[in-house]
Symmetry: C2
Subunit: 333 residues, 2 copies
DNA sequence: AGTCGTTGCTGGAACGATCCAGCATGCGCA
DNA sequence: TGCGCATGCTGGATCGTTCCAGCAACGACT
């Protein structure tokens, strides 16, 4: 309600010191006696002083904000919502704001002057804004690797998607599956490419072919239902379906129901991305939990470390997953 | 890759004019001849000039960013993801960045210096950060009304939730429902309060009591399953359930399946918030489509108008819904 | 006693844009 | 010719902060 905000100079005047001393006292740097520092701090508190972030940014040549770019098709996936909030939380802990970048569209040129760094999650090779972001002139941390282009990001947080899919397939095999199939997007993202490669590797290792069908990156239940129906018709003895895209698992269940297959016994169903859809399905669906909130936190942490110099450019950190086993892979036992 | 960014002065020097003229030419204001303007613009383009937003903010006393606050429990609802992206898009059209506020936590004091305005979506009375946001010293636009506190927001975008629930109940009655129930959160939000009131009004008008049960604001399928099971046990002749929270509809379906009721004939099921869960359920569930992306756009538009003076403080705009009828309310016909 | 280093503080100069007063110039009009 | 006025442009001040050079004062050395 104060008509004009109170500045550092107001605080300095009220405390009877120079603005430099006030700045030093509040900022923690410089040489100030303990008594003076406390005095200034109490005056500042009393006056309700709030540092002007624009002025600070201007002087420091840093904005105190980072940008977050999500896949264009992210809007229906609660996975990314959780990830975003994880990143926001972590950024806040370091005093950074997180600005949400409009997906798909070029975000206007002056990005570099608006954010200190960028988080680019699940960069897809055919997303035209990704190269632009990588070239924005600020540190970029990707969530999963970027498979296109020549500019390397400054950092990355990666999951071992090969290992998680292998674990999932092992789990299905252990529960009696002999003829598993995988619904995965085309390999335009690191995640999808890794899943496809892992399926191939697992097939060779076990001598059991994993049938792979392509579905969109953010497939709808309708699309996975059609794909599953095709699988059921085409693959004799099909007894397990792994659905990669988040949110599309119900389609697999629908196709199973329509074909008269009981999920959990006749047909085991699992997902590569846990979330509301997998948890809330009937029956609940086994899925790899990528722990999106922690993933978001990890990405923000890497970027923050890069900005403070606590991490070197090129840093890559690993993020752990867990397997949430549920009724959909109970097996015949 | 330029080691230091090019400033307005660089452009002015290269174009052979003063910085004031350069500023006028690029900013559109002031008096500049058409020839000079074009010349300066081409020089700026050639040099790759990007205005420094911190300097601009400092001088203009505005940040070019708005904040978005979502309910603490929003993370699992794709509704809010869609809304957020709608708001981001609309904000970008007016050159505004959108910073995501950490839900639940007090977002640090200096909010007023970091954003020009705030979007507070579905403010809940028991969310301690809402009063703080309303008091941050910048215009606030709420999505739905805020039922607590004394500080009025500067603007709001509201839905006629009473009308949409009435339409939903009418639809159910028309499809043969005689004994409908409503699963709604406690009236801590405008939305939930309106739904409860509308249910009461509809009951009185039609002489048919709508049984209301309380579930959490962001109920999980497990919670709605339990609530629905109770309803089935307690309410003789129950033939329709309206589930208010987004994402929790599968729980209602699960309870129906467990009780041996066929959804769409024995038990009609509908939701108050359309989304991935309702669309992807088996069978697909009839729901009120709040058109979250457009809702987000509308909120951002109001705030933008308030900031430019195109709207007066106190402005309230209305947002339309539609009803998506699906298999879950087919009826016995 | 003179030099040195440290401590505590000050004043001014950035940072890069915008805004305002002001200054030529040229044109219309009495 | 002289006055008014619009046009096109300039220089400097300004926003609020941080950073740097520098200056007393003072104790500890040789």
């Amino acid at each position: 309600m104060t008509s004009r905000s109170v500045t550092l100079i107001d605080v300095a005047r009220a405390a009877g010191v120079s603005k430099s001393t006030a700045s030093n006292a509040l900022g923690g740097s410089g040489r100030v006696s303990e008594a003076t520092r406390e005095h200034i701090q109490s005056v500042a508190r009393e006056l309700g002083y709030r540092p002007n972030s624009a002025a600070r940014s201007l002087r420091r040549a840093s904005t105190g904000a980072i940008g977050l770019h999500l896949p264009r098709t992210a809007t229906r996936l609660d996975y990314y919502m959780n990830l975003a909030f994880g990143a926001v939380e972590r950024a806040r802990e370091d005093g950074l704001d997180l600005v949400l970048l409009a997906p798909g569209t070029a975000s206007g040129g002056g990005l570099a002057s608006r954010v200190d760094g960028l988080l680019v999650i699940d960069p897809e090779v055919d997303d035209p804004s990704v190269p632009e972001l990588l070239d924005a002139g600020v540190p970029v941390v990707t969530g999963e690797r970027y498979l296109g282009g020549d500019v390397a990001p400054s950092g990355a947080v990666v999951c071992d998607n090969a290992a998680s899919l292998a674990a999932l397939l092992d789990h299905l095999a252990e529960r009696g599956a002999r003829r598993p199939a995988l619904l995965a997007p085309d390999p335009g993202s690191d995640w999808a490419a890794a899943l496809r490669a892992a399926a191939g590797a697992w097939s060779r290792r076990k001598g059991v072919e994993v049938v792979v069908r392509t579905v969109p990156f953010a497939a709808t239940p309708t699309e996975t239902e059609a794909a599953t129906a095709e699988l059921i018709a085409d693959v004799p003895g099909l007894d397990a379906v792994v659905c990669a895209p988040d949110g599309a698992v119900p389609g697999v269940l629908a196709a199973a129901a329509r074909a008269g297959l009981r999920v959990g016994t006749d047909l085991l169903v699992a997902g590569c991305v846990d979330g509301a859809a997998a948890r809330g399905a009937i029956p609940p669906v086994t899925a790899v939990d990528l722990r999106p909130a922690e993933y978001g936190r990890a990405c923000a942490a890497v970027l923050s470390d890069l900005l403070t110099g606590a991490a070197e450019p090129g840093v890559v950190r690993h993020h752990d997953w867990t397997l949430n086993v549920r009724e959909s892979t109970r097996g015949r036992a």
